[in-house]
Symmetry: C2
Subunit: 633 residues, 2 copies
Amino acid sequence: MPRVTFFPENITIAVEEGSTISDAVAAAGLEVSQPCGEQGRCGRCLVLVRAGSVRRRSTFRLSERDVNAGYALACQTVLTGDAVIEIPPQGEIARRLVSEKTYTAEIPLDYDPAWMQNLKQFQLSIPPPTLDDNRDDLSRLETCLREHDVTELTIPLPLLRSLNKRLRESNWNPWLVLYYDRTHPGEAVLIDTPVERQKLCGLAIDIGTTTVSANLMDLDNGTIIANAAEYNGQIARGEDIISRIIFASKFDGLEDLSTRVRQTIKSLLDQVIKSSGISPDQIYRVTIAGNPTMMHLFLQLPPESIRLEPYIPTTNHTPLYFAHELDLPVYPLAVVDSLPGTASYVGADICAGVHGSGLNTSDSLSLFIDVGTNGEIVLGNQDWLVTCACSAGPAFEGAGVVHGMRAARGAIEEVYIHGETLEPTYRVIGDSKPSGICGSGLISLLAEMFATGVVDRSGTISFDANTDRTREGMHGPEYVVAYAKETETGRDISITKVDIDNLIRAKAAIYAGFNVLVASVGLELKDIERILIGGAFGNYINIEKAIQIGMMPDIPRKQFHFLGNTSLLGTSLALLSHQDREDISRTAHQMTYIELSADNTFYEQFTAACFLPHTNMQIFPSVMEIWNQEITT
Amino acid sequence: MPRVTFFPENITIAVEEGSTISDAVAAAGLEVSQPCGEQGRCGRCLVLVRAGSVRRRSTFRLSERDVNAGYALACQTVLTGDAVIEIPPQGEIARRLVSEKTYTAEIPLDYDPAWMQNLKQFQLSIPPPTLDDNRDDLSRLETCLREHDVTELTIPLPLLRSLNKRLRESNWNPWLVLYYDRTHPGEAVLIDTPVERQKLCGLAIDIGTTTVSANLMDLDNGTIIANAAEYNGQIARGEDIISRIIFASKFDGLEDLSTRVRQTIKSLLDQVIKSSGISPDQIYRVTIAGNPTMMHLFLQLPPESIRLEPYIPTTNHTPLYFAHELDLPVYPLAVVDSLPGTASYVGADICAGVHGSGLNTSDSLSLFIDVGTNGEIVLGNQDWLVTCACSAGPAFEGAGVVHGMRAARGAIEEVYIHGETLEPTYRVIGDSKPSGICGSGLISLLAEMFATGVVDRSGTISFDANTDRTREGMHGPEYVVAYAKETETGRDISITKVDIDNLIRAKAAIYAGFNVLVASVGLELKDIERILIGGAFGNYINIEKAIQIGMMPDIPRKQFHFLGNTSLLGTSLALLSHQDREDISRTAHQMTYIELSADNTFYEQFTAACFLPHTNMQIFPSVMEIWNQEITT
């Protein structure tokens, strides 16, 4: 009988030959996670064979390097002799299995506000007036500002009104906050004359059709002070862009929608203010991105023309306005920079997102997707960029799904279903009781339901299996992920047939978009060097699962990079650095937009992708492998 | 007996030898005006001796040329033989005797809005968008504006919000109103996108300490559509600048004063709107002048520093703001141009006034005075300008005088007192019953009271004469100009000792200012080629009377030019033409300010001038002549 020693517990037991490592772990009274029911599908039972003799039945998900290093799936590895086995901590495995965000909007290593920031604060030394030098206050200020490269100062009326007091109470050494217009050297706007040095903060806002997110940032050191996200209050007036545009054209509709998104922003502001102790009056700059419709609704510009051929927005390059003009409850003279977009359906969110993803500065051929309500895709590199919008819908943002929710505390972000019992295991964000399922959880859930036969390739829920998790619910056929007693809400959390259809259409639109965009420049998916995924999924996305449902193409996993909310990232970078802001402008000018509605192949591709993972299984070899394995085990 | 024939009546009568023409006129049953009681002082009985033999006892006020042409004073001319005499119409004589405004703010002969006006209106032809040319609305507009020399457009948010609608409802041929910033070629602000061509109007406002005046102007043809003037509502908070500044420093005082002048402007606006039928929304441009304190109070800038050494205003060169920012009830995006000033006590009103007077473009050495509350004086020519402010007080604007009023309908604008009966004759503006006495009326009245002995050289009212016009009134000694039954108000209109003292101090301050300013550049009053008089006197000022009271120096009358409200004139010119606006800026930069409070000779000169006409009669030879004449006749 082979003898097995487990570390770090240093327990040795004897097991029968032919036992799997899983059997031995159980016999030793130890535990490894195996939510898929020892079917070699979830990869959670990963162990490290330090020494000894084992036979791997499957190396699913393990790279050659992993195998050479001794990694093995406990449930798929047979002990053929004595062995020394290490059980790594669970968290380490979890991180290894999902694609962690590889780029987050944190301080650029070289952040230097003096060079990068449009907003500057300094103390000026103005010679006090005398009878011989009786120039007026403003002239004295302007003369001294020449040393700070300002030859033309704009001074808003409220600051002109307080100038006398500020100059004298500071004994002619006033603190100034100025906004430098980098495209017009020498021009600056006086933003504030604070009594003493102020902490300069900024707010980066990403207005999604479904979700609005904001970063409160410290402009002195470039760090994120606080972050918040919330569903867009406009959802009550329609879930997608088209219904919002239609609502906007009704009497008062535009004002209503504009007020609603502003209320959402105010609520986000309340959250970041509350959590940070920063005053709204310290927020001197705001950058905003969103798709053109969202930008129009925020700015209260009529969006109707965006929907009608030839799809013309009022502007893709909005001028700067002051916060008070836009009724934003930050410092009234804060400069609001609405980031630029390319076309009616590829807006500032994508330009900011492309910049946040680094696609526009890399020589690798990359495919970028922002998995939001519109599902915009960009293909290119530092030299060229093509883009399209594939209207994925809000399913992956948790909207349009009965128990869907944003990636926030209480969201189920990963699910495994036991291959025999069909009992689920799930992970919840914030280690709390579950309240719903977020985007990454839905991808994971759909993949597991498919892998375990809970749904078939068309997404139909099967009632054949011996489980009461599948049932006829209020909304038709459903699978229960969490019963009421386990949940925060006290209600069952389930996924319905309608939800599944929504998810399949969403993933099909994305996959079809990939294909059409790549084909439009005469390439194939295999030519892609990197797939950059943006979207408000939370901190992790399981790429494997995304491939299993046919949302992402079946190409080497290392080519995938999950970047989180790239739009908010790019918007935050624009807040910090004028160079980044200019890069986003250049990206907006550089992108070529391809209108999918004018492309028949999109509908063909979409229809072909409305199966799990696709009508053509041959293009998903690794998914076929799981199926074959299911059959063989 | 000499025979006299009068024309145009063609009446011939015989009169006794030694009769005056006045006697003959009366004998013929005809009339000439002789309000001074045949004392040869008023010049109203002027007649033309076409032929015949007469002897002039006095040619007072007649030039040599007049005498050669045959003009004679009826009361001072004796018939020595037959004569043919023409009695000119009364109005013609009245005009001849007073200085008529020689320059009024009317259309410059060469007004061409295309070249002169900052505001431009035109219809643009924008190519409609197509799927192939899907640039956004604003980009399309900007591209087309390059043909109109606009490379950089500023678009206020409200216009961005209506752009979509305007472009489409005009079928891509929108009307635009743009404000061109002439100091920044290529830059323009979009002011309006009207549905159809608009009549472009502007409002020129002169904010005086005592009186606020406005011209509503047609910017298409440069004419004045309507004019209005009213006392500044701030008078309730103090009559002079110093008391206003003190009030402004109290809690809410600045806001109160700012609101009051705005209410006055609103009231003026109501008047010009009502009389013209123009809509306030057609007023696209506003130019404003006033002394620095008035400008500060209008802009709601704290004025305290203006009063305290070293007398520093917040700004003499106020940036442009939109009307809505300043709560002006005209078109909200109207561009409000606050004209520039030179120093704390020589402001935009004087710079505009100097420009309105033409002093700054002439090679004649000229002395300009704006007879307002401050009594600013400017000396110079096209090459140099020096200025001072002599704090005349508001008496000549009718304020600080019991029955004083502005030069409006119902104001007594000229008075004669009969040399024997001391009964007054007066002319009222608008041929109505009198309500009060305006500036020119007060000058005329004081001169007559002095000439007829109602007051002595110190301004004390005499009770010796056999008249009940002089009496002890509610406010002390007074002379009744109009009894209650003749007046609009139903009350006696009189002038009191206190009024007279105010007037004497005001005229003394002006005369002292002349002397000090002229001496400051090493000249004498006799070197002055022209005296340009601005002020809200109405349409006429009697220069003779102004000299008689010692307000103006006793130099040849043809050197005097009465210009009316020069500040409003300059402000109106700045509204019409950017060249005039630039000239005013240059004037503001060019003027050298002399602080009278730092000049001891001013007080000496002032004290010496606090008599009628002056302590030194020798410097008023023509006034001495009247006195001598009074004694001899």
